[in-house]
């Protein structure tokens, strides 16, 4: 890769290209779309967590003046099993279809049953309430223990266990059991002098993006579909609509709006095919459907509740000899929890010679789980890093010491197979050791407010994937850069910066725009921490090609050979004798051969994995169980930071979500499977008052595979927080929290139980 010190654009902190639109309210998000003649959709959702649908009577709704169309699951084409990869995990399209409108069975509270379109939202809402559904209520299965019990009723008659690669015979709620093995785990534990074995539980949490899902769809008389929606991946939406409705992709144009957060929850379709069917039935009028917050929490997202058992063996000198993991994740109503990713994360930071990991993907009557930032990683690391903290204490070792002693390095093989290339895990540990947060002592008290410090590490794979982009050199010297990657947090600018660096122009001369699926080549979704890495690489290649072409044009104007021309500081130069400014070359493109338009597409590899180590100070009020975060420092191997402020922002945001997951967030269901906290008052995400400033320490170990050393940075920061906070709570109170979230009530119960146990 290039010499970092020579960079002119990379490493600076320019204002984002879409910034003015976003601070003035002009940027158009999903719900801001308005098509001429549009009508409004509303969904009817199941009031039962599990029920057979005996009949649906839509006649009263259809009779309401203003109602233009009504659809149910019967309007969806029958589908065969087909697996599609969204970049953050695979999805079975038949299940996706049954998720967006139920077939014969409602599988969770809030499962969509029918939809209405009407001339106003008020009429649509009234009409949805007029749809009569006859249900046969079935007992819901609401947790892993019930779902995995040998005599449990199966949610789906056609799901059998994929048991270590062999298809089972009887229907089961365990959709898959897989195993990763390395070495000889029995021998590893036989060689251990200290063994720690623990079991952890975690609750269901939601991505919590502030923008509810919204889609506006028009089914034209010529069979062409126009789809405006807020999505992480417009091409994924196109292919999912195509599969679910049986339309050729050439009939579907997806126009992505600005997106108000996704975190994995806006990869798959929920509303788009439903709005399409409503539009077709309404004679081609555009139909807009926007979810309420209740709909978002009840029927989209969440990520899995889990039970994770971790067993470590180590010698007295702190060397890990073996690890065994059993992990079961709730998939929700359809198979596909992130347990596979969780199994790759859980022990990844450590070089352990003997490992067995068993993973289970388990169905239950909750919404279909979806990707959430480093899917499956936070709960996995909470379990593994809590157990490692206990092991370190049993060995009388410090938390950094035990991690350094066992740290994975270049050449270490993960239990799930791959061998690490150059990674920066050790560097994150060393960065913590150097940081004033670590080197300064924590002031402690024996009163009701107990302080403690915790450390945890985390890993995320990152993803490369396919990106395409196109650039046009304008006569005034600016370059229009056309991309298909959803800009969810500043990627227009992080991509434009790499383009500007490659071509050799200032970043404010680049005009990046995110366009529809008919206007740019294929792009995988913005997910897997891939966009700055992969789309940035694509535009690097485009920049190099344009640079070469501009040098050829300048050579013509200078009446010399391209090999004699250099381009530095905005000037093409033929030695010391003659030079010509960049703006003159671009102004004269017509005279030197015509416009310059360059497209490039590539399936990127070599994404480079990410590691992070976090340190947190907490204060636990032992009279109320409330935990305050006093200080938080996150060190992370970020490869090479293109826009350091945006990298810091990714780390700070990931940490904040991790803190919410650790301390407060969880779905609460009643015994019938009704979600009791489907709103932001009771599904309590962190506010400004709950968090301190978050110190993001960028450790730069450039990724040797990327032209600018980029590694994905967005996901790994959510992996360590829950483990770090659990370790800090133990440090403060001597009580080990075995379940997330570590909410005041749960902490208080644990503190009281520990006090009673101590008194006996």
């Amino acid at each position: 890769m290039s010499d970092q010190t020579a960079f002119k654009v990379i490493g600076t902190r320019p204002v984002r290209h879409d910034g003015v639109d976003k601070v003035t309210g002009r940027a158009l998000y999903g719900a801001d779309v308005r098509m001429n003649g549009q009508i409004y959709g509303a969904m009817l959702r199941s009031p039962h967590a599990h029920a057979r649908i005996l009949s649906i009577d839509t006649s009263f709704a259809e009779a309401l003046p203003g109602v233009k169309s009504v659809v149910t699951g019967a309007d969806l084409p029958a589908m065969a099993d087909k697996i599609a990869d969204t970049g953050e995990g695979a999805v079975n399209l038949r299940h996706l279809s049954s998720n967006i409108l139920a077939g014969s069975t409602a599988l969770y509270w809030g499962h969509a049953i029918a939809a209405v379109a009407a001339t106003t939202q008020t009429i649509a809402d009234q009409a949805a309430a007029l749809i009569r559904v006859e249900y046969e209520v079935l007992p819901p299965i609401l947790d892993l223990a019930a779902a995995m019990a040998p005599d449990a009723a199966a949610l789906h008659a056609d799901v059998v266990t994929n048991e270590l690669g062999e298809k089972g015979k009887a229907p089961s709620n365990v959709a898959e059991h897989f195993r990763h093995e390395k070495g000889d785990v029995a021998a590893g534990f036989a060689a251990a002098e200290v063994v720690i074995e623990r079991e952890y539980k975690t609750g269901t949490v939601h991505q919590g993006y502030i923008e509810p899902h919204s889609a506006t769809v028009q089914w034209n008389a010529d069979g062409q579909l126009i789809v405006y929606c807020s999505t992480q991946g417009s091409f994924g939406v196109r292919s999912e609509i195509s599969e679910i409705l049986g339309l050729p992709i050439s009939h579907i144009k997806v126009i992505p709006t600005e997106i108000g957060g996704g975190f994995g929850g806006k990869l798959n379709v929920y509303l788009e095919p439903v709005a399409a069917l409503l539009s077709r039935k309404a004679g081609g009028r555009a139909v807009k459907i926007t979810m309420s917050r209740i709909d978002v929490l009840a029927a989209t997202g969440p990520t899995s509740a889990s039970i994770i058992k971790v067993k470590y063996g180590a010698t007295r000198d702190g060397r890990l000899t073996a690890a065994q993991v059993w992990m079961a994740y709730e998939a929700g109503a359809f198979p596909g929890s992130p347990v596979g990713a969780g199994s790759g994360v859980i022990l990844a930071p450590y070089d352990i010679p003997n490992v067995v990991i068993d993973g289970y993907d388990v169905l239950c009557n909750k919404p279909k789980s979806n990707a959430y930032r480093a899917p499956g990683g936070t709960n996995a690391a909470y379990a593994a890093e809590s157990a490692l903290d206990e092991l370190a204490r049993a060995l009388n070792m410090g938390p950094i010491e035990i991690r350094l002693k066992n740290a994975a390095k270049e050449g270490t093989r993960r239990a799930d197979g791959p061998v690490f290339p150059r990674i920066g895990f050790v560097e994150t540990l060393e960065a913590v050791m150097r940081h004033p947060h670590y080197t300064s002592a924590l002031e402690r008290s024996s009163g009701p407010l107990r302080r403690g410090r915790g450390i945890a590490s985390g890993f995320w794979f990152n993803f490369g994937g396919t990106s395409s982009a196109s650039a046009t050199v304008n006569p005034d010297g600016t370059v229009s850069l056309t991309e298909g990657s959803t800009d969810i947090g500043g990627s227009r600018t992080s991509i434009a910066m790499q383009f500007a660096e490659s071509l050799g122009i200032p970043v404010d001369q680049v005009k990046p725009q995110v366009v529809d699926t008919d206007s740019v080549g294929y792009n995988d979704a913005t997910g897997g921490s891939r966009t700055t890495f992969a789309t940035g690489w694509v535009v690097y290649e485009i920049g190099q090609k344009i640079r070469t072409e501009l040098i050829a044009r300048a050579a013509k104007m200078l009446e010399t050979e391209p090999g004699q021309v250099s381009f530095e500081n905005g000037v093409f130069s033929n030695g010391a004798m003659k030079n010509i400014p960049y703006a003159q070359v671009t102004a004269d493109l017509d005279k030197t051969g015509g416009p310059i338009v360059v497209s490039h597409s590539m399936r990127t590899r070599g994404e480079g994995t990410a590691f992070a180590t976090h340190i947190v100070d907490v204060e636990v009020d032992i009279e109320t169980g409330k935990v305050d975060i006093l200080r938080y420092t996150a060190t992370q191997d970020v490869g090479h930071a293109i826009h350091p402020s945006y990298v810091e922002g990714q780390i700070q945001g990931g940490v904040a979500q991790g803190i919410g997951w650790a301390l407060n967030e969880e779905y609460i269901y009643d015994k019938n499977g009704k979600l009791l906290n489907a709103g932001f008052l009771d599904y309590r995400m962190p506010t400004t008052l709950d968090l301190p400033m978050i110190d993001a320490v960028l450790v730069e170990v450039p990724n040797p595979k990327h032209p600018y050393g980029v590694r994905g940075v967005g996901e790994v920061p959510i992996v360590p927080p829950a483990g770090a906070i659990a370790n800090a709570i133990f440090d403060a109170t001597g009580v080990r929290m075995m379940e997330l979230p570590m909410s005041p009530a749960r902490n208080l119960a644990a503190l009281e139980a520990a006090a009673i146990a101590a008194a006996v």
């Binding site: 902190r13 204002v15 984002r16 879409d18 910034g19 003015v20 976003k22 601070v23 003035t24 309210g25 002009r26 940027a27 158009l28 998000y29 719900a31 801001d32 308005r34 008020t122 991505q207 919590g208 993006y209 502030i210 923008e211 509810p212 600005e258 997106i259 108000g260 957060g261 996704g262 975190f263 926007t290 309420s292 917050r293 969810i488 947090g489 500043g490 826009h643 402020s645 945006y646 810091e648 922002g649 990714q650 700070q652 945001g653 990931g654 940490v655 904040a656 979500q657 709103g679 932001f680 008052l681 995400m685 962190p686 506010t687 400004t688 008052l689 968090l691 400033m693 978050i694």
Partner: protein
């Protein structure tokens, strides 16, 4: 359904509009007056994305009925933006990279203006206390708080 006629002042200009009796100010702003800078995140007063000023006081427009603004002054993010350039809060949000997805940003800027109008030099604690009614899921608030402090400096 019968509609009500409402006469108000929105962003300094007279605004006469029709609304249904149950309609919120948020929906009137977005769907009738086409001021979509005010965002809907929850519609029950818990996220602050729909923050506007009503006679200079910060409110969640999802909790105000449209009919209630008869004779009153409403300021939205569109009205906070000067004719030329940007409001200092808008400028500082950009320079401090205080937004990622941007959906909460108009609400945060309106709420921050309400804070600075009554407390031009807040401490970090005062900023955090005042903005606790606005949710952001992307930033962890660090850079938002810094932007507000910078705008107040």
């Amino acid at each position: 359904m019968s509609h009500l006629v409402v006469n108000s002042t929105v962003n300094g200009e007279p605004a006469e509009f029709l609304c249904e009796p149950h309609e919120t100010l948020l929906h009137a702003l977005r769907d009738t007056l086409l001021l979509t800078g005010t965002k809907e995140g929850c519609s029950n007063g818990n996220c602050g994305a729909c923050s506007v000023l009503l006679d200079g006081v910060l409110v969640n427009s999802c909790l105000v009925l449209a009919a209630e603004v008869e004779g009153r002054q409403v300021t939205t993010i569109e009205g906070l933006t000067p004719r030329e350039g940007l409001h200092p809060l808008q400028q500082q949000f950009l320079e401090n990279a205080a937004l990622q997805c941007g959906i909460c940003t108009p609400g945060f800027i309106v709420a921050s203006k309400a804070l600075l109008d009554r407390n031009p030099h807040p401490t970090e604690a005062e900023v955090r206390h005042f903005l606790a009614g606005n949710l952001c899921r992307c930033t962890g608030y660090d850079k938002i708080v810094r932007a507000v402090l910078a705008a107040a400096a």
